[in-house]
């Protein structure tokens, strides 16, 4: 029987098309962390997260907000001297944590991504107001008022459409989506 996969291998397996080098090549230089514009909002810097994956600290990685704080700006990726695609690895970690249904409490990212995908599967197009429930609760009353004020002025300026759009060939589109992932009867 094959030996159990290491955590590093599991993460590598979550990347289908990305062509970066494996994280064992990381020299822990910290260029990624120094580059990252979101590092100060992360529980662990990108360099630390890589170290933790290599040390098989699965629970600690799953409990970290690091990859959910990644803006996918790819600045780390283009600078890494070891050729690691750190930004795509962050996506892989998001997928891993969604797949394991294990993420830090209170994060908006997982709910947002999930409702986004449901929305697209349902209509083929995205529509901002439909996403609101996924994240609005998080910002509390003050945030809600701010958000509502902003939305009102956007509507007033003619920038916020009031009706969602749909693509015409929705049925075939949904058949296509179902060939990749099972979607329920989307509303």
């Amino acid at each position: 029987m094959a030996a159990e996969l290491s955590f590093s291998d599991e993460i590598a397996n979550m990347m289908y098309a990305s062509h970066g080098n494996p994280i064992r090549e990381c020299i822990q230089c910290g260029t990624c962390s120094g580059t990252c514009p979101a590092a100060e909002f992360m529980d662990h810097t990108p360099r630390q997260i890589i170290g933790m994956i290599r040390a098989d600290l699965k629970d600690e990685v799953l409990a970290s907000n690091t990859y959910w704080s990644c803006a996918s700006c790819y600045h780390c990726t283009v600078r890494c001297p070891a050729g690691i695609d750190i930004a795509d690895m962050m996506y892989a970690l998001k997928r891993y944590s969604m797949w394991k249904k294990s993420y830090q409490e209170g994060l908006i990212g997982p709910a947002f991504s999930e409702s986004f995908v449901k929305m697209i599967a349902g209509s083929g197009r995205s529509f901002e107001p439909q996403l609101a429930p996924a994240y609005l609760f998080k910002y509390g009353p003050r945030g809600l008022i701010q958000e509502a004020q902003m939305a009102t002025s956007l509507v007033f300026k003619g920038r916020m459409p009031l009706l969602p759009r749909k693509i015409k060939g929705l049925e075939n589109f949904q058949r296509m989506v179902r060939r990749i992932i099972p979607i329920g009867e989307s509303s």
Binding site: M14, Y16, A17, H19, P37, A38, F41, W68, S69, A71, S72, C73, Y74, H75, T77, V78, Y91, K94, R95, M98, L107, I108, G109, P110, F112, S113, E114, F116, V117, I120, G124, R125, S126, F127, E128, L131, Y135, Y139, G143, Q146, M150, L154, K157, G158, R159, M160, P161, R165, I167, K168, G169, N172, F173, R175, M176, V177, R178, R179, I180, I181
Partner: protein, 291 residues
């Protein structure tokens, strides 16, 4: 004349509609023939990849496949996030037959097939390379003389591509602005991230990133920030008031699409360029507009 398969993307139908109308007006003025891709779907921006990678590529591939079927050779989009998705989906499936097979199996359900024959390009690239700076200059009737503009490149137009002229310090946006008669201001943050979708998923982090960008542009005496992406524009413009509330700052710098600057310089009517819908009015630019 060459025809381009045009992919506006979802933002250009709503919050960034001004980007769409100014793109179409400027393209018409420059003689670029943009044909909107029939029944395109959302490319997912950054929100599919956390759920399923293959689905993310497939959704992008559908738009490319429709353009291929229509006989297009070039796919062009003004949205940097859409551009990055389309560029890499196209590149990956060309060098990975296995990935192409998977995607084509799904596309078949929609009677489509992708070969990866398109050239995927950002609108600014088409203007610079196919139209050219000389031709742009010839179309300038209302030069934006001495207008101090901060060119904001953002991320996805430049990265993760590594084969660009200069990933760390590109110059092409400055050159375009100079061709319009404007005075591009140098500032170190021009390729730093605006926070992207963190504005939704981690508001605190994103507002901080926006604040740093605004601060840098303002400190370098910019009067207007020019963008090449609806997401960047929305973060820097629509959320400017929230930055002010959060940090007690008093930013009030207009953020305009580069196509709006081009249009004004080409003597097009501000209204036809979607100008007037900003949260921070584009006054410094309007001074140059034809009356």
């Amino acid at each position: 004349m060459k025809q381009y398969a045009y992919y506006p993307g979802c933002s250009l139908e709503s919050l960034a509609e001004s980007y769409n109308v100014s793109t179409l007006e400027v393209a018409r003025g420059l003689g670029l023939d943009l044909k909107e891709i029939e029944d395109w779907n959302c490319c997912g921006a950054t929100a599919y990849f956390p759920v399923d990678e293959l689905l993310a590529y497939t959704l992008v591939a559908r738009n490319l496949a429709i353009a291929e079927k229509d006989g297009a050779s070039d796919f062009v989009t003004p949205c940097s996030a859409c551009y990055k998705n389309a560029y890499f989906t196209n590149a990956y499936l060309k060098r990975d037959a296995d990935l192409a097979d998977h995607i084509n199996y799904a596309l078949e359900a929609d009677h489509l097939h992708i070969n990866g024959t398109l050239r995927v390009r950002h609108l600014i690239e088409v203007i610079l390379e196919d139209v050219g700076l000389e031709e742009v200059k010839k179309n300038v009737t209302h030069p934006l003389k001495d207008l101090k503009v901060a060119p904001y490149y953002g991320c996805q137009m430049l990265r993760p591509r590594k084969d660009h002229e200069n990933v760390e310090n590109p110059q092409f946006f400055e050159q375009l602005l100079a061709a319009l008669g404007a005075d591009p201001v140098p500032y170190p943050s021009k390729t730093r991230c605006c926070g992207g979708s963190l504005i939704i998923t981690n508001r605190k982090a994103a507002l901080d990133m926006v604040r740093k960008l605004l601060e840098d542009a303002v400190n370098h005496k910019a009067e207007v920030i020019a963008t090449t992406c609806p997401m960047c524009n929305i973060n820097l413009e629509v959320y400017q008031a929230q930055v002010n509330q959060e940090f007690g700052t008093q930013f009030s710098i207009p953020v305009m699409y580069f196509t709006q600057l081009m249009g004004v310089a080409m003597g097009l009517k501000p209204k036809s360029l979607g100008i007037g819908k900003e949260m921070v009015p584009g006054v410094p630019l309007l001074n140059f507009a034809q009356s």
